[in-house]
Amino acid sequence: MSIFRSEEMTLSQIFLQSEAAYAIVSELGELGAVQFRDLNPDVNAFQRKFVNEVRRCDEMERTLRFLNKEIEKAELCVQDPHTRPDAPHPQEMIDLENKFEQLESEMKEINANQERLNRNFLELMELKQILNKTSTFFEEAGAHQAELTEGLHDKSALLGGEESSRHLNFVAGVILRERVPGFERLLWRACRGNVFLRYTEIEEEMEDPVTGDIVHKCVFIIFFQGDQLRSRVKKICEGYRATLYPCPDSPAERREMAIGVATRIEDLKTVLGQTQDHRCRVLQTVAKSLRSWEIKVKKIKAIYHALNLCDFDSTTKCLIGECWCPVSDLESIRSAIRRGTERSGSSVPSVLNSIAAEENPPTFFRNNKFTKGFQNIVEAYGVANYQEANPALFTIITFPFLFAIMFGDCGHGLIMALFAFTLILKEKSLMKKDLGEMFSTIFAGRYVVFLMGLFSMYTGLIYNDCFSKAFDIFGSRWYIGLTAQDYQSLEKADKEFQMNPIENWYNGNINSTRSPYPFGIDPIWQETLSENSITFTNSFKMKMSIIIGVIHMTFGITLSLSNHLFFKSYISIIGEFIPQVLFLMSLFGYLCAAIIYKWTLGVTQNAPSLLITLINMFLQFTSPYPCKVDSHGHPLKDQGDGQNCLFDPAAQGYLQKLLVVMAVVCIPWMLLTKPLYLRHKHKKAQSYSINSPYPDTVGLTESEGEDDEVVHHDDDNDGPGSKKDHKGNRGFQFSEIFVHQAIHTIEFCLGCISHTASYLRLWALSLAHAELSNVLWNMVLHTVLQTSMLDGMGFVRAIAIFLAFGFWALLTIAILLIMEGLSAFLHTLRLHWVEFQSKFYGGDGYKFSPFSFATILEGEDET
């Protein structure tokens, strides 16, 4: 397995015989172990060799999309094939194309037929509605006309009568409901009020024959006089897309027509049903094999895309492809090529050769579902350089651990672990579902969350904290040896009682051996009685954070040593690793040692403040003693200013001076050694090449000598300088290297201080978490449990407790688990990305993305 260092990769050249190329690439796609490089990046997409095939695939995909849409419209379900079919033979492509084309034209014909029938049907339905509705209009109009005729009669009697002009024309039709108001207005305006419009809504829903949408329509009838108006009205109807229908004048004719329409509708319904059935049958057969066709076409397209990346060599009539592949997979790749050659029946074998690479190979880790989550965390910062130490391996433990230090609570940890564990148990069924963006992120990190939960339980036990309460498993080792009188006198005086470890330190039994609480913090500190419990845990957690931080950073630097050794960059060990370790150790290593030493002292009255000790290490560099001493050089009794001696004043003074000098010396060491060495080496190489009569041989030795430097460039310690150096010895820029090294040095030295301080976030968040959970307990659940208001009302108290528990549980999950969990997660992330990885991790690599049908098909499914 390659989890610590990425897989060894090699650049290979494949000579693909043109007749076998397709089959071989198809086999490689099934294998998914090679990444093709684009050999003609300057060529446009439409000028590549296999653009026609790609285009044909596009066309096939379009047809498939069309069929898919039709199937969706018919509300049929598409069956997924049990196994993914192999990429079909190129000849089969023509068959597929023909089949699709045929299906498409058949489908289109059916659709056109159906549309025509639908349109007919719609028209008949509309006509039926018109005949129904207009009869009422005509009745009203008849009454109207009678009045009108009477009126006219009077006038015509005066004018001498023109009977014919009395006759009113009309048109009837159907219009979309939403267009009616505009239509009415326009009619009125355009015809100057000389028309009479009546309309009524059709209650039934109509179906648009083209789109299949449901539309609402209105029946209308317009009465007018004269031919000029008729043409105008007709134009307006046309403008508003109203359909006009012939409507007979007399009621008898109308009735007759209605009967005719009704029979025609019945006929049409049966025909429509038959077309629908036919269409369904066709689509059902399509639905059976649609998915496998889709997969086939996608595979063909992917193969031609890959072939487009290859170079065509016209002299040997073969395609040349370059690809990255893992060295360990070479055998299976070769056998895939053999299989492909056999399948295509080509007589000339295709060959795979390893060639030298100019650029850095891609980074490839073989992750399983457990390590993937951690690898993702690291890669969110940057993909590892080729073969450099992969922090993901260590992140598996350090990440949940650092998280747990901030999240230390047994109960919360248990909930989190159980939640993640259910996800793990159900992962097979959940994997298939679309979980949504938020939840799928959590699901992807389920193993991370699970470990975070487990580790939180562990640290919770250490802190002796479960929902802000303590477990008293072994019995507290503290004993308050007070009598009742003592209590009363204390209470009267309103004084606090301070326990003394000498007097109050046993387990209720004066004769027991004086051992501390065996695991974690003594439960007495979680008691609400102890006023100074925060002071105590603060001191403990703060020191613990520093120690863990320094260990974590030192470990990071050690990993850089492993990189230097791996890339054989010995100058980096001497010029970087050693001074870095010395620098860190002489300042913060000493601090950690002092912390632990101070713990071993037990309780003394003269305990020095470590912070002041560390500051005085620098400030009192010139004075012989770093702490308060009397005239004989003996440590003074406690003065309350923290400037006490840690141990023998003279020895402490010597040791601290030595450490400070060492740290200061490390700075120029880091700054100068490596650039000067590189410069010296460069000069030497140059003078050789000038003086030597055989520049070629020198060139050889020189390139040998520089090999380690090129590799060492992978380590990202010396910028582009050495790379240029390799490429023909020009452009060795001392200033550039020096500036780079200066930045690096300053960053490291300042970083050591700020990063150590940064680890204090472990303490801060842990404190915040413990206090929040404490407050929540005291303010919500504790209040209800304690209140005297509910005394004697057992039932009410039960309900109150029930409600209070619900509230408490809700807040616990929302605030303490989710919000606090997220914030602790982010801080852990930062500690890993910034404080830990900055010590050794380059993160400038690029990922290996092999040509694989599986990922192509999955990717398509997601989008």
């Binding site: 439409f46 285009r55 379009r62 999309r65 069309f66 326009l186 046309e238 508003y240 897309r241």
Partner: protein
């Protein structure tokens, strides 16, 4: 108290400007971000170079797939033709515009409506002139720009006189106030249709200009320069096109939009012009327009004045993106996109007709 103080302050121009800037993003921040994102998708020089090399429309489609156009042609069966490309391009623009219009609130919504009015004018004129030539309405409707479609559009054909058109159809549309000047025209012949178009456009530009000035602040500044150029361009083009027609000088002068830089002196000079040379002299008095008339010719290889105008318009529209907190970006984006569509269609036509000699006659944007 603080808020109250702000409100009590006299609204000097400076205050208005700052107030607008404070609250601009509350209403329009999303859309401005969106339109700037859209702008990033406008084809670059390199894309055009690639498009020029296309041999068939399929190649054009394949190349456009790698740009922000994505798969907009993927459901079109081959063989493609240019009109499908054109329709799809318009459809895409309309979808984008409709989205912005639906998200917009006053005054941006009204601003966007103003943008569509110019397309409405074009559509009306197209319909009237089409009806004059006896084309069926359905065919004409299909040719209308979808950005300028409106409910009453299809009944434009019933009108026989401008008064009819106004009273029956346009009175309900937002174009009604622009049309009032045209009502006096006697009947709809070819000449009058052109007059209607230009009068409408004049009224529209002036109203739009005034609207932008009322909005104040940077919108006024940016849109001012865009609309001034538009007005001046129309004045120049009207003058040049009027040579050799029966349009009288007085009538011509009435068509000039009066919100450009040429107003009033330049317009007065244009009104007196009888030949191209005097138009040039009149316009060259204005520093920005001088370069547009340089190197213009009718010989093959020379750029026409129209091309020069387009180039200048593109430059102005690009400048509109340099200022924030103003509406000019929306107008500029639509105009740039329109230019891009013209470019794509031009290249597609050249490719489809296998006439590559003039393929370079597009106006690159970025």
């Amino acid at each position: 108290i603080w808020v109250a103080l702000l409100l009590d302050k006299p609204k000097s121009t400076m205050d208005m400007l700052q107030l607008g800037d404070w609250t601009f993003n509350a209403d329009n921040g999303y859309l401005e971000g969106l339109v700037r994102g859209f702008k990033a998708g406008i084809l670059s020089e390199a894309d055009y170079v690639n498009l020029e090399q296309c041999e068939t429309l399929e190649d054009v489609k394949l190349h456009l797939q790698s740009t922000s156009y994505g798969s907009f042609l993927q459901n079109e069966p081959s063989p493609l033709n240019v009109s499908t490309v054109d329709d799809k391009l318009k459809e895409l623009l309309v979808v984008e515009f409709e989205h912005m219009r639906n998200q917009a609130v006053q005054p941006l919504s009204q601003f966007l409506d103003f943008v569509t009015y110019s397309y409405m004018i074009d559509n009306i004129v197209l319909l009237i002139s089409g009806t004059l030539h006896g084309r069926p309405a359905s065919e004409l409707i299909a040719n209308c720009h979808p950005l300028g479609s409106f409910e009453q559009m299809e009944s434009v054909c019933i009108a026989t006189t401008p008064a009819d058109l106004y009273n029956a159809v346009l009175i309900d549309t937002p174009l009604a106030p622009f049309f009032q000047e045209c009502v006096s025209q006697q009947d709809l012949d070819e000449m009058n249709v052109e007059l209607i178009r230009n009068t409408l456009y004049k009224a529209y530009l002036e109203a739009f200009y005034e609207f932008c000035q009322e909005l104040g602040g940077r919108t006024a500044e940016v849109m001012g320069s865009l609309l001034q150029f538009e007005a001046d361009r129309r004045a120049v083009i009207i003058t040049i096109n009027s040579f050799g027609t029966e349009l009288s000088k007085d009538d011509r002068a009435k068509l000039y939009p009066r919100c450009g830089k040429l107003h009033p002196d330049g317009l007065a000079r244009l009104a007196r012009a009888d030949e191209y040379e005097s138009v040039r002299v009149a316009s060259e008095a204005y520093g920005e327009y001088r370069p547009l008339f340089e190197g213009v010719g009718t010989n093959p290889g020379d750029k026409t004045l129209e091309d020069k105008f387009f180039e200048h318009e593109v430059a102005l529209n690009k400048d509109a993106f340099l200022q924030q907190f103003q509406f000019g970006v929306f107008f500029a984006y639509i105009k740039l996109k329109e230019q891009e569509h013209r470019n794509i269609i031009w290249i597609s036509e050249c490719v489809a007709q296998r006439n590559r000699s003039k393929i370079k006659n597009y106006v690159p944007i970025f």
